[in-house]
């Protein structure tokens, strides 16, 4: 799109169009601008922009979406939402996943980038670390339900291991603990993805920089701090944005691990994604699309704010090498 737009923006072709040569070329390109852009633009507007606008509009209404017409009632959905414990839990939990989960994932990813470069067979290790990503989160959640089983007559794998090292069994899936179990699962499943991205950036760093650091007697931490991190900073920023967007819409793993998988789990484990689902399809009653839309708007705002904040935080002069 940028390439197509350039001649128009430059506005150079108009007078030279008649004389042939580059001007004629530019004019032809200009004529082709809308025919090429329009289909994409129409699809984008119809399937992304309009639904987003509709979401915002409907968030000011009460609508069951079952033959009734939306009843516009101003800020009522927002007032009710902010006052409801289910939303408060959802909001706080989502933030916990974004921040604590993000820190956990990146610390783990950085640790691996520190050691992986020097390890033999590091490509194989990277592939293995990536494996959890190819499993659907729902399947992962159901599987972990067995791993974290608490049953004195036949414990799940996690408790068998804990008992083997002399620590008693833990009730992992209790409502109070389940957020942290999900957090662990997320970090475990997500770290491989970010390790892959970060290692791709690390691979681009000229090896002589590391050799130089080694000759100077740098420790792995110093190499990471003074070589790896500054030279992968822009990639870390993008990875951070990806994590934030992914974490704000966390849904399946929590839904399946914290509840029976059939009905919404107890509200203390909810995330914003679960709140939206519950208000749309999770109740026994008519959907409350107005309430779901209000929460979706909060999610959009939250993503925007966090991503902007992150980009601001990560803004550095790019280092060229």
């Amino acid at each position: 799109m940028v390439d197509l737009a350039t001649p128009v923006a430059a506005g150079t072709g108009r007078s030279r169009a008649a004389t042939g040569s580059p001007g004629a070329h530019a004019a032809r390109r200009r004529r082709l601008f809308w025919p090429f852009v329009l289909p994409a633009l129409v699809l984008y507007v119809v399937f992304l922009v309009l639904p987003t606008v509709a979401t915002v509009v409907l968030s000011f209404s009460s609508w069951a979406g079952a033959g009734d017409t939306p009843d516009f009632n101003g800020l009522q959905q927002y007032r009710r939402m902010f006052a409801s414990p289910s939303f408060q839990y959802s909001f706080v939990n989502t933030l916990i996943y974004v921040l604590v989960g993000g820190i956990g994932t990146f610390v783990l990813a950085f640790l691996f980038t520190m050691v992986l470069r020097d390890l033999r067979g590091n490509r194989m290790i990277r592939a293995i670390l990536f494996f959890p990503n190819i499993v659907a989160p729902v399947a992962l959640g159901m599987f972990l339900g067995f791993v974290f089983k608490f049953q004195p007559s036949g414990q799940g794998l996690a408790n068998v291991l804990l008992e083997a090292v002399g620590i008693g069994p833990v009730k992992f899936l209790q409502a109070e603990h389940v957020t942290w179990v999900v957090m662990g699962a997320l970090i475990w499943a997500g770290a491989g993805f970010y390790i892959t991205i970060l290692m791709a950036a690390v691979d681009r760093i000229p090896p002589d920089l590391y050799e130089d650091a080694e000759l100077a007697g740098a420790s792995p931490w110093q190499k990471f701090r003074h070589v790896t991190l500054p030279l992968t900073w822009d990639v870390v920023g993008v990875a951070g944005v990806l994590w934030t967007i992914g974490a704000i819409k966390i849904f399946e793993l929590v839904f399946v691990l914290a509840g029976p998988g059939t009905y919404s789990p107890p509200i203390r484990s909810w995330t914003l994604g679960i709140y939206v689902f519950d208000r749309s399809f999770g109740t026994v009653g008519a959907p409350e699309y107005g309430a779901a839309c209000a929460c979706a708007v909060v999610m959009i705002v939250l993503v925007s704010v966090l991503v902007l904040a992150l980009r601001r935080l990560m803004r550095r002069e790019a280092i060229r090498y």
Partner: protein, 461 residues
Amino acid sequence: MSGRPAVAIASLVSLLAAGCGSGGTGSENALPGTEEYLSSPCPEVAVKPSGTEFTYWSMWTKDEPQGKVLQHAFDCFKEKAGVTVNVQWLGRKLLTQNVAPALNTDNVPDLIDQDISQIKAAVVEPGGTQGLDDVLSMKVGEGDRTVADVIPAAYYDIPQNKDKDGKIFVVPYEVLSNAWWYDKDQVTNFTPPKTFDELFAAFDRSKQAGRAAIAHDGDINFYNAYYFTQLATRYVGPGGLVKAAEDRTGELWRTEPGLLKSAQIVERIAKGGYLIDGWDAAKFPQIQQRWADGEADFLFVGSWGPSETREYLTKQGSDKKINYGSFQFPMPEGATYDIVEQLPIGFAVTAKADHAEPAKAFIAYFLNKELLRGIPTVADNITPRPDLDVPDDLKDVKAALDDPQKAHNLFMDGLDGLFGGTYVDNVFYPADNDLLSGKITAQEFVDRMATGTAEYWRVHG
């Protein structure tokens, strides 16, 4: 978008879960009478409609026992009345995922089915159904007997089955109920308790025998709610809990002594160590499977309990056969309403239906004894008709339902369907979960309910 896989899982799991007891879904679990029923001759129709087709969106899947029973009835209806039924087998989530969105269009099904609570909340509230009082006077094909003659009013003439105009919107063909379950071969010398002291004495005996007293899947909110709501409605009567939930000041929770007394019994269950270790840290249906394995003596769930646990044992390849016994909660001291909980499942006709007439004629036809007996015979479930066979495991439950001394009340007094589920999610379930897990006392529970209810109404106006 991220909801999709979970929805698939949800509908998949819901076949097994509490939505309904469906019995075995595959032919390997088919009951002995299945073949005989499916090849039995079709009864004559009493009401011959002028229409020749209608559309039915089903809460069942095609291979489920209920799906097979209904398909047999459709074949018969085609043969005897010349009406073709266009079926879509959609599963339990059809109301919110299929029917409600379709109501925005003119392409609606004529006939739908689900339990009364769900149809009311998802379709009746936005005005999507029509009254079915006229079906009550239709003949079912057994001489002059009408629908009202064969189905006792207690199953349909209830406040929760009335639309805005006071008309009924569901005609039931299957009924779910609930009970305490035990294995007669494991809990021997046992007679169903008449008082709570007897019930707790039985629990204590289980503990002395080295087993847990109660198995309970604690990750399903409304399973956790059963104890309190069963007891509370015995004090406050049908509709009493809804009244407490609707009290704008919340004070009813404090001033109605029966609510505190009910909570005290739940507190006694919680603090007495009767619940099986790990009940609050498991995923459904792990705990009811532990009951089936004999780790605990008693299990309180719906009438789907036997079919689900039997299916588990079959799939495990276990030789164990449970000799199912069941009983209702005894009357707590000072309570005056002898309650048996029910959840009728039945047909509703949409308001926009193009073929309401043949759809209604089919409702009456399906209630014919020869067709409806497929529900107990093939699907191992209870029907609202008192004159049909009852699966052995469910005889006690059915006897409780047919007992004229007992008042029928909807599961949980219908609390879960109120206000789009927001009241139970935000106020009732969190407090009730804490009560059952012994984190709060009965007094703290009613206090929390009072302030929580008042706060809920402050926000919801």
